[in-house]
């Protein structure tokens, strides 16, 4: 259960190796926090440094593309750890060089980033609805706000995930469960290592701060950094030839 400061006791991370998710857990850690469940393929032991003494981290196996296991997975986590206060949907892939041309590679990316997000998101939502509280934090991306020629398949998957998340959030109004969609820009992490930094690049800790403050203020959408919201208000309506020029 959340306390009066909206500090969670239990956090479940889908995509337990995500650097951004680790930063979010660290940011949300308080004396109230007791349980963190990191779920990822294989479920091997992953550690998060600097958590308070009272926090126990459990690592469990979870595969985003095993759709038929998602309901059972959520039920098992709840049976072992009780109510879920915050669930972070953090898994996702960028795709390889061929993802914009190879139909198989592209569909595999869709399988993880969209189908996995929808299926695990629905499984989590059903549980949050049943307990009458809890937040699903969905790590979307500004890449889905307007897709760029250089990574339009990835962008399309993020657009799908984002549309699912915001729609689910509307559907859950009145149930006590909530969705907070997070739209980071370029984040310096293992996933983006070696890539050229985009403008307004930030660190996982910046995303985590935006998430924590968004949770406290019960927001449905947060951007990281926050000014990207204004930037994309303009970019969304930019004429196509200018948009293509920017993508270099």
């Amino acid at each position: 259960m959340m306390n009066a400061f909206e500090q969670p006791q239990t956090i479940l991370v889908l995509g337990g190796r995500s650097e951004i998710a680790h930063a979010i857990v660290t940011e949300l850690a308080s004396p109230a926090l007791t349980t963190v469940v990191l779920a990822h393929r294989g479920g091997d032991v992953v550690t998060i440094d600097g958590l308070p003494d009272g926090v126990t981290v459990h690592c469990v196996a979870f595969d985003a593309i095993d759709h038929h296991t998602h309901e059972e997975f959520v039920a098992k986590v709840v049976a072992e750890h009780g109510d879920l206060d915050v669930v972070v949907q953090a898994f996702g892939q960028l795709g390889g060089d061929d993802v914009n041309t190879d139909p198989v590679a592209a569909s595999e990316l869709v399988e993880v980033n969209v189908v996995g997000a929808v299926s695990s998101g629905l499984a989590v939502a059903a549980r949050l609805r049943a307990q009458g509280h809890g937040v699903l934090v969905v790590l979307s991306s500004v890449a889905g706000v307007r897709t760029r020629p250089s990574n339009f398949v990835y962008g399309a998957t993020k657009a799908g995930q984002d549309a699912f998340a915001t729609g689910l959030g509307h559907a859950l109004v009145g149930s006590g469960a909530r969705v907070m969609t997070v739209r980071p820009g370029f984040v310096r992490s293992a996933m983006t290592e070696g890539m050229d930094e985009a403008p307004f690049a930030c660190d996982p800790s910046d995303v985590a701060e935006a998430v924590a403050s968004g949770l406290r203020r019960r927001k449905s959408v947060v951007w990281a950094p926050g000014m990207l919201r204004g930037v994309f208000t303009v970019l969304r309506v930019l004429p196509g030839f200018l948009w293509r020029k920017l993508d270099r």
Partner: protein, 455 residues
């Protein structure tokens, strides 16, 4: 029985959850189509007027029972001095009924808008605790609805374990359906009140220690903004029930109809009000509150003026804005008065302006296993929930409080952890065992019970 899905919070308006709210009478709940039809795997909890500050009367995903009064909600046995009252009746309604007949409740908190059932479940206290103890000390019989849907009366003699697990038990042993308790005879609805300004914490402690024995009711409003030589400056208010002779002498106009009690209702603060209690405003308020009080004043006050000043502003918590607020109340033993001074200084230094902080001396424990009051000093403060850094201050205060054998009040709590409650309530395991005996399938459940691992 009517039911609807509703978002619920406590009086502090924090940590909302959604539950199925069921309105039913005790008879309906104990019928064949009663309790068992509304309890799913998330259980049920009774809710009165929602004046607990945190989440004890919430049950996310489960059932929340609003108990409707029966056909004869208040019966006064004047010969025995005992009132038989349905649990859903508020002290407001009760006082309007019994004060004109010359009776008063044995304990009233800072608001009349609590139910009798909630008064027992939280084992509430008031300005009279040093003299009269908590509400549970005056109860002689309770009607209860149990997890299996049956109902019966209990007393301290017939069911001692269950009795002391229920008084202060936060509704987790069953639904309290009706309560019989001693009421006190009064000649008037007024109080002879002594009010004085006290310039410093140490002087306050001394003043309360020496004068509490002369007054049935006493409390100090403490300015937690003041520091240095003004640390803990306070307005000390002490009173006794006024007799008709007192009124004749001091306010003859009131002596004509000394028991007329019909307080006005006041308008609510509208919803969506922005936070108008930022630091400078609180600072100014505290300064004004202190300055407007005469150095020493002797006068007559009404029930509302003396006990329930905040009831004059409906929904006043909206003044804290959308984040809501929390109330922090703890008690430390008498011999830990230095710790109390340290805490007052810590809060003042930190500059988290709290207003309406209250200091009081407690008397004896009631015997409830989870009852809050015990001999010592108790401090209550309001803090806005939207302010950063408060959580670490409160965690630091928790350590100080528990270090001297103190504890926190569950009816105010919205921040404690299972460890803090375990440390403060040494009889928690005993209580859990009794609870398990009466409710082995975990029918009674609340958000607070989950958060604090009470169940």
């Amino acid at each position: 029985m009517e039911s609807e899905q509703r978002v619920l919070t406590g009086w502090g308006r924090t940590a909302p959850t959604v539950a199925t709210v069921v309105r039913a009478t005790a008879d309906e709940l104990s019928s064949d189509e009663g309790l068992s039809t509304i309890v799913g795997d998330r259980g049920a909890i009774a809710r009165g007027l929602g004046r607990s500050y945190g989440d004890p009367a919430q049950n996310g995903g489960g059932a929340v029972i609003e108990l409707m009064p029966g056909s004869e909600p208040i019966r006064l046995d004047a010969a025995a001095g005992i009132a038989h009252v349905d649990a859903g009746v508020s002290l407001d309604v009760l006082l309007r009924e019994i004060v004109p007949q010359g009776w008063f409740v044995p304990v009233t908190p800072g608001t009349r808008f609590v139910t009798v059932g909630g008064a027992v479940a939280s084992d509430i206290h008031g300005k009279g605790h040093h003299a009269d103890g908590s509400f549970g000390a005056h109860v002689v019989r309770m009607g209860m609805l149990f997890a299996d849907g049956t109902r019966r009366s209990i007393t301290a003699g017939t069911d001692p374990d269950l009795w002391w697990a229920t008084i202060g038990g936060m509704g987790l042993t069953g639904v309290i359906t009706d309560v019989s308790f001693r009421v006190i005879p009064v000649e008037t609805r007024h109080f002879v009140v002594e009010t004085r300004r006290v310039p410093h914490f140490d002087e306050l402690v001394e003043a309360m220690e020496t004068s509490d024995r002369n007054y049935r009711y006493s409390v100090a409003w403490i300015d937690l903004v003041a520091t240095g030589k003004h640390l803990g400056r306070s307005v000390l208010s002490m009173g006794n029930h006024a007799t008709v002779d007192d009124l004749r002498e001091m306010k003859p106009g009131l002596a004509e109809r000394p028991l007329d009690f019909d307080p006005r209702s006041f308008p609510d603060v509208p919803p969506g009000f922005p936070n108008v209690l930022p630091r400078p405003a609180v600072r100014a308020f505290n300064e004004l509150w202190y300055r407007k009080t005469p150095k020493q004043h002797h006068g007559i006050e009404s029930i509302t003026q003396f006990f329930h000043p905040l009831d004059m502003v409906g929904q006043w918590t909206r003044l804290y804005g959308s984040h809501g607020f929390l109330q922090y109340q703890f008690v430390v033993p008498f011999d830990a008065v230095d710790t109390m001074r340290t805490i007052v200084a810590r809060i003042a230094d930190e500059g988290h302006a709290s207003f309406l902080a209250v200091l009081k001396r407690f008397g004896a424990e009631s015997g409830g296993l989870l009852s809050f009051p015990k001999p010592g000093w108790t401090l209550t403060l309001d803090l806005p929930a939207g302010v950063g850094g408060l959580d670490s201050l409160l965690t630091e205060l928790d350590t100080l409080v528990l270090g001297v054998g103190g504890r926190h009040y569950l009816a105010k709590d919205s921040f404690a952890t299972p460890e803090v409650v375990r440390a403060g309530y040494p009889r928690l395991e005993e209580w859990k065992a009794i609870r398990y005996g009466i409710d082995p399938h975990g029918v009674w459940a609340s958000d607070q019970a989950r958060r604090l691992q009470l169940i």
